[in-house]
Symmetry: D2
Subunit: 284 residues, 4 copies
């Protein structure tokens, strides 16, 4: 999507007359061409959402000045907003444990240019996936959990900070993050849940699904929040299964869904197509 160098504004504010005119006028006066623009109004809550993609090559003033001037308009409109520039590539860290499927998938998509980000760091509590990291030339850090879970997390957060990480991807990372970690990366930690939420929670979801004889299994990618598995949902998908599939078969099918759902969520986030609004996610 960032083929043309671009600036992306994400906005949310109370719906009001003249909103589009005010915003589009603002950028027109400053010489911008709008590459893409998407809107949505949540009529029930009267909130207006907008994603605006501008041609970065038309920027004729310092970025800071643009942001200050837009900030002044936003204040009038009672608007929350963010801005991103495509020449500043996001830096993503992947946290994993032992399961390789999501990790490989992300690294391969990164390599093929599907995911527009740098991946300067993989962290795991096991050494298991080091080889995979090496294959793709990504630095791998093993931080075993051991007795002091808290100390391990602090070390990890320090690493993330040192690497200037913008996005944390939990690629089947089987550890619970503390409030401290969540707060350090608000709506910037993406988790893949190995089930269709709300659904079988707890251990062995595929065995539960088998025993309950379900006819579909799914996966959910969401931003991590303190209340595990209750975070804003970015993407979901599901596949049909039959009684013939064993729990192991379901797990394999589940893996295929998991990695696709996680990749789509990460892609949407990196392309700045995601606005979180309370517990709902707008994906443009």
């Amino acid at each position: 999507m960032f083929k043309t160098p671009s600036i992306v504004f994400l906005m949310q504010c109370p719906d009001q007359k003249g909103l589009v005119a005010a915003v589009s006028g603002f950028f027109y006066k400053r010489g911008f061409n709008i590459l893409r623009s998407q809107q949505y109004t949540d009529a029930a809550r009267n909130i207006y959402y907008m994603r605006l993609e501008l041609d970065l090559r038309h920027l004729a003033m310092p970025r800071l000045q643009l942001e200050e001037e837009f900030g002044a308009l936003a204040k009038i409109l009672n608007m929350k907003w963010t801005v991103d520039y495509s020449d500043l590539r996001p830096r993503a860290a992947i946290l994993a444990t032992k399961a390789p499927h999501c990790l490989y998938d992300l690294l391969l998509r990164r390599k093929e240019g599907e995911l527009d980000c740098d991946i300067p760091l993989i962290v795991s509590n096991h050494a298991h996936l080091e080889e995979a990291a090496n294959l793709f030339g990504v630095p791998f850090r093993c931080l075993p959990v051991g007795d002091d879970r808290d100390a391990q997390e602090r070390r990890m957060l320090k690493l993330l900070k040192a690497h200037h990480i913008d996005l944390v991807i939990l690629a089947r990372y089987m550890q619970i993050l503390s409030k401290r970690a969540i707060d350090a990366y608000p709506n910037r930690i993406i988790n893949i849940h190995h089930a269709f939420l709300p659904a079988f929670q707890g251990a062995y979801p595929y065995r539960q699904a088998y025993e309950r004889g379900v006819k579909m299994i799914g996966a959910t990618a969401h931003y991590a929040t303190e209340d595990l598995d209750q975070g804003p949902i970015i993407e979901q998908d599901a596949a049909r299964v039959t009684h013939e599939q064993s729990p192991r078969d379901l797990e394999q099918i589940g893996r295929d869904i998991e990695r696709v759902v996680l990749a789509r969520a990460v892609k949407a986030h990196l392309e700045r197509r995601v606005i979180v609004s309370e517990n709902r996610v707008i994906v443009f």
Copy 2:
């Protein structure tokens, strides 16, 4: 499926050597041609399931005798089994409330020959759908719930009995059935649940789904059991949705899934392709 007049045996028993040979030998000796045969072994629980469809025109003895002789074999194999003959059409009653989509759908499929059953009775606690019933020429009985819920159910069960009903279809019937009703039709009451189970339970599931920002909605058809919404699952399906869809949109999409899922479940049941085994359903 019952194009050729047929006999369908459904069997479940502990897996054991020589099972297929014993069963297929039994029917071969009695001159039968096997039209279809499907098996499944639940390796975890060591249970063997079989569906056998025979050509009815080869039946060269009284039905009772066939059943007695097969019963003797089944006893040796420690087998639970049922038999059905395609010339005895099942009689289904539809219970509805106000929502017409599932009712119309079933009646139309019946009319088009997709559902191989008689539908001699529609019962509702409202008069709302009488017109639809008339359109398709199916007797309609309105039994308002009023003060005495129990009396209404007793009247309904009497009606079902009087009409020799084999299968009860809850086509968005918004009343809870008592243990007595469930027990009267074990694994012969099919309910459509307006959500992907396990999922948003309780009232207004589509509003809940909207507020949670889910990306897929689904529906589940299952046999009714005392523990509401926990019965054996026959069929499920789901569809992708986006933030753009209002709760009302979700409801419309949900209706489309509901009626297809319910119809598929009813069809599978009528074609005797369903074996219930504890809380799992084998759908051949």
Copy 3:
């Protein structure tokens, strides 16, 4: 979607700077609130598409004047556009032959309020579906084809004209329309094709699909053009099948897809969410 009375503008023009500002400014100055706005830029062809939904209750001038003033702006922008008002309900005619599934489906959705249109006329070349039309209280006209195919079509076009029809829905109407008919309703005749296009064309597609052993079957809704089955695609869907399904099974599954795909296409058209641009369809 037309809960709030609304005006919908559909626009397409060469992409150019200041477009959104010009259009949104135009409506802001005239006191309008934008209910919904959707844009898309076809970068390859440099065409900009926009759908704008305004609150009709803010209209403070005669409709003709609004259209003249907007026409003047459109001329400057080299824009093709249409406008519709939600208080002028579209009038749809359904053309059918013998297959009832799409007809019932449309009539039921109309009755349930899913399709926001009047349906003052059903035309068929057979008497077969008269009963269905009666059930829903829609006038039915039988125009047998007989020897003079041309005369029959002329009679039909006369009927459509007399009923001020805006949209013609071919609900499995097994007759080919002439250029004259197509030209009378450009991009206003929706056809459902009983296959996933491009795909098995010609007769007995489900038998062809069976013999080829395909694992998925689908359906396509498109605007009718002279070149049969090559018109702009509005909606498609598909379902998985296996070798077990007979041609008759495939047909039943196909019917379920056909009616849902046709209904979605009709709904999108009625809600003015469809822009045709050469042979591509933008569905907002």
Copy 4:
């Protein structure tokens, strides 16, 4: 599936009375336990198909003797059949060109134990994917096509033979195989077609799909035959797309479908769940 060491018989023959009894009796008498058994009758062509999975540990005679004795029965029944033993792992070669997604996917699934085969050889006409092959420790041979296409193919066939290859997987191998190659591996070359067949054939299918404004794209895995893209279909899948997706987006979505469809087809083949019958594939 081959958890328990097993023998798999695949059979097809004219449908006839006593078939199941004869076959199951044959194995029962020789002390076998049937692990899985699946049947299908193509009523239109009166052909009976069967897959039988036996517990290898019950084999109490030389394999050759079993096959001879079964061959004698098969002759009586006019049956075509194959037998495979799970302790003889199939050897698959992957042929690729430059696109890495299918290759990585297969290698990763192999590594994770999803695909039960050896992969002793990757052949490509470019050096591009050598690194990927190295990562997974699979020997890689680059055979550039150059001027003499025929010579290159002969070299390749020699390599396949030298490595005792049972299955050839065309993982986006952009070369056409000659009749000689097809004949050397009848129904043992699996190709992934980058479209939903029958569909956009020829070059740039995703651009064609974009320009035609299709709403779904798919992929097809089939056995290679001389008549390119017309071979027996093993597996297909499709995904919804919108006008918003560029040809490049469609390609990315297409890649996800391609690799899953190819993997499922290869898995089915390796698990001996596939019977080819003229141009139809039975996948048990």
